[in-house]
Amino acid sequence: MGAAQKAGLLPISKTLFHRVIYLSNCLAPLFDTTPTNATIVKYKRGPFYPKVQWYLDRLAVLGILKVRDLEYITDEYGTWMEALYFTNGATRQVIETCKGVQYGRQIEEYLTEMVFAVASISKRTWKDAALNDSTYDEPGKTEGAFIDFADPTNNLSVQTARAFQAVLPKGFIASPKEEMFLYLRFLESQVAGGTR
């Protein structure tokens, strides 16, 4: 949420929040970071982590985050809760405390890069970028499929991001950050191309 605030993504919808978390898990190996969760069920509403939602709501109740526009909607997939989340002074204090330890600093640095990469693509493509992710959208993976990308050979997102090296000008070595930005650009073009 701290990174989203810096990148101008706030208030962030519950749906977008989960999708950004999914992309951060998937692309973590680019930065030699271990994903907090390397498995996910391909869900009809896109990447969603029930436990994350529980803790997101808890943080709101504890006053560490703010929530507004809570509503229950019913559509073709059933009933669903939507809300907008944003930060306050307490959020910043908690983030500063987390940055006091090395692991916290590393995660914060990585997530900031990640969220800025998302923010760099067109706003209208933010939400659908994760749906076009190479791992999530792998051919043959239908709704309800269990996606396990702990093994690097199954993480098509990282493989795609690294494959851009082959088409870069001779002598130019892409950094992890550049690989991630290039990958998000790729997802943006996939969304814009209407592949989904």
Binding site: T39, W54, A60, V61, V67, R68, L70, Y72, T74, F146
Partner: protein
């Protein structure tokens, strides 16, 4: 008749142009014609005296030198030349000497050889013999210079010039270094082809000797290995039994590991399946919960339309039994109580009767839906609990299996390493030993052949050596006499040469050969009547060491050439090792060599430092009675670097003092 076919180079004229170190007093470079007798290169430290000597040397030899050339071990390498220090002159100047040249004329016997080289890389720009241009590529021109000198090859020419004609600070001592002395004898007295053959033969013998010793070390190692292997066969059964046991234990462990791997794969699959199921049931609970909450939320929103989103979150989660967002309790008590209170128009939290409010209506259909959702949630939560327990067990199983595998792998590796080390210790089979034995015999036969070849070549060398020795015998008397003549000028003690062939080998092993050699005997305070042998340079003083070596060269020149033949000695700062009182004698010695035979027109070129003005005067004989001609010619016999060389910092600062020193030194009468 001359005893040598070598025509020693003698400098006739020198012209250096466009070299930034030597702009010359008229900015046209240095031009000098060398009169017979002494020529002095005068200067101070850092003005280029040594560089000028090297220009003269490299004009003859170029920048090529023998492989691994070491003046203190002159025959340590082989008699082969290679290109070295190509940028010696170019790196000393800012323009890399791109247009700088040296153009010099040398007498080679009766012929005048003119050599012009680029100082950038010492390439030969032109070669003339008695004004006739010699054509050819660089290799051909180099060979022509060698041919004009009468030397057998480039190496021998280099050695004559670098180690005999030039007497530089890093030189091969010809009297104190037995090998260095024989090297010059070989070149001077064996004729070009024989000298070359002898050098090649010595290189071959040394090569064979080295090869023989290296192979013998390897062969001895092989023999030792075979002996150990033969001994080891005696307790072979013990080792074999241990190997078999270890092999068995290792196989057993490998089997366990493979079995374990299967268990591990099954446990991991089980864990993945359970994770998948758990994640899916979480999603389903989420869906049913949200459906339940949406019904409840509509109900509360009617009763309390201004509730904050945070309060709604708490209330909805408590009523749906999802948990308490305040304290993280997954199973809060009485979740229905909240709903019942609210449906009766009471505050769901405190139960206060809020009769003024319109009690929310909940129709039967909605109640049924809520009940169904409630039932479904209950089932799902129970399934989740069971699944979570199974997942925890599966996790624990995977953890336990990882620990077991780590232990098994470590045990297996230990056994495998032990097995490898035991197998390596197993002696070879009889068949393998026979093969090794036959290989050793073959190598021994090769060694024997090498030895025979070395001995045959040494015999051949010995015969060739004997031919040269006969020439040396003729030389003995002339050389001893000449040495006495020159040494007597410098040394107060009586110093004579002694013919004392030495026994040494060409390689580290092989037959001892008798090499011709002259050594020195000299009287001293303790043995005034008869001299004692001085075989080592440490047995004389520093100045004696240098000047005995110099006297030996002069004697050698005098002994090998006929009257009228020219010779040249180029000496770097002769005063360097002298006490002040010997400066006069050193000057006389060099003058004696330069002037002793008026027909010979010998040339002596010596550098001197102006700080030691006596040397300059002594070399030019300015204080010598009856040397009117010499005094008159003195300015023509000096290359004055104070005016010819580019001034360095000391020169710029103390020019007046240095010029006065030079002027005072050159005065006709001191």
């Amino acid at each position: 008749m001359s005893l040598t076919r070598i025509k020693f180079p003698v400098l006739k004229s020198l012209r250096i142009e466009q070299y930034q170190l030597f702009p010359g007093k008229d900015k046209k470079g240095i031009t000098h014609t060398f009169l017979p007798g002494i020529t002095v290169i005068a200067g101070i430290n850092g003005l280029g005296k040594t560089t000028l000597l090297n220009v003269m040397l490299c004009c003859l030899t170029g920048t090529r030198e023998p492989h691994k050339f070491d003046p203190y071990n002159p025959v340590g390498g082989v008699h082969k030349m290679r290109s070295a220090h190509v940028d010696y002159f170019s790196q000393r100047v800012l323009d890399e000497a791109k247009n700088a040249t040296v153009d010099a004329e040398f007498y080679f016997g009766p012929d005048v050889i003119r050599i012009k080289r680029s100082l950038r890389d010492m390439e030969i720009l032109g070669l003339w013999k008695n004004d006739s241009k010699v054509d050819g590529d660089q290799g051909a021109l180099r060979k022509a210079i060698v041919r004009f000198s009468g030397a057998g090859d480039e190496y021998d020419f280099f050695y004559v010039v670098r180690s005999f004609t030039f007497f530089l600070e890093d030189k091969v001592s010809l009297i104190w270094n037995a090998q260095g002395q024989f090297e010059i004898f070989r070149i001077l007295f064996f004729g070009p082809k024989q000298a070359r053959d002898l050098a090649q033969l010595a290189d071959e013998i040394k090569g064979i000797d080295s090869d023989y010793r290296n192979r013998r070390v390897q062969l001895n190692r092989d023999r030792q290995g075979l002996e150990e292997a033969t001994r080891a066969t005696q307790d072979l059964s013990n080792i074999e039994r241990t190997v078999q046991e270890t092999q068995l234990a290792s196989d057993n462990l490998r089997g366990k590991l493979e079995n374990h791997q299967r268990r591990m794969e099954a446990a991991l699959t089980r864990r993945t399946e359970l994770t998948e199921k758990t994640e899916k049931i979480h999603l389903e609970i989420e869906e049913v919960t949200r459906s339940y909450q949406s019904h409840v939320e509509t109900f509360f929103a009617t009763a309390f339309p201004s509730l904050s989103a945070t309060t709604q979150l708490i209330l909805n989660n408590l009523t749906s039994g999802t948990g308490c967002l305040v304290c993280d309790n997954p199973k809060p008590e009485y979740p229905k109580a909240f709903l019942q209170r609210a449906s009766r128009g009471r505050c769901p939290f405190c139960g206060d009767d809020t009769t003024k409010r319109q009690a929310p209506k909940m129709d039967a259909t909605k109640r049924t839906k809520l009940r169904q959702a409630e039932e479904r949630l209950k089932q799902l939560q129970q399934s989740r609990t069971v699944l979570q327990q199974e997942l925890d067990r599966a996790e624990a199983e995977v953890g336990k299996l990882y620990q077991e595998r780590s232990h098994l792998s470590s045990e297996y590796l230990k056994k495998k390493n032990l097995l490898e080390s035991l197998t390596a210790k197993l002696p070879p089979t009889t068949e393998e030993r026979d093969k090794q034995r036959s290989e050793i015999n073959r190598k021994q036969a090769e060694l024997d052949a090498l030895l025979a070849d070395r001995d045959a070549k040494t015999g051949d060398y010995k015969k060739k050596l004997d031919v040269g020795r006969r020439t040396m015998e003729k030389l003995k008397e002339r050389l001893t006499k000449s040495f006495g003549y020159y040494a007597g000028e410098f040394l107060a003690e009586s110093c004579t040469l002694s013919w004392e062939p030495t026994m040494r080998r060409l390689g580290q092993e092989g037959e001892l050969l008798s090499f011709p050699q002259f050594t020195v005997e000299m009287t001293s305070a303790l043995s005034q009547a008869t001299g004692s042998p001085r075989k080592d340079e440490n047995q004389v003083s520093e100045s004696q060491k240098e000047f005995i070596d110099l006297a030996f060269r002069m004697a050698l020149f005098a002994a090998v050439r006929d009257e009228g033949e020219r010779a040249m000695l180029v000496i770097e700062t002769p005063e360097a090792s002298l006490d002040a009182v010997f400066v006069e004698q050193a000057g006389k010695l060099l003058r004696r060599f330069a002037l002793q035979d008026t027909n010979a027109r010998n040339v002596v070129i010596a550098t001197t430092n102006l700080n030691r003005e006596n040397m300059l005067r002594s070399l030019l004989g300015l204080d010598e009675a009856g040397n009117a001609k010499g005094k008159q010619e003195a300015p023509k016999r000096v290359i004055n670097l104070l005016t010819e060389a580019v001034p360095n910092a000391a020169m710029r600062k103390y020019r007046a003092q240095y010029e006065k020193s030079f002027y005072d030194a050159m005065k006709a009468k001191k």
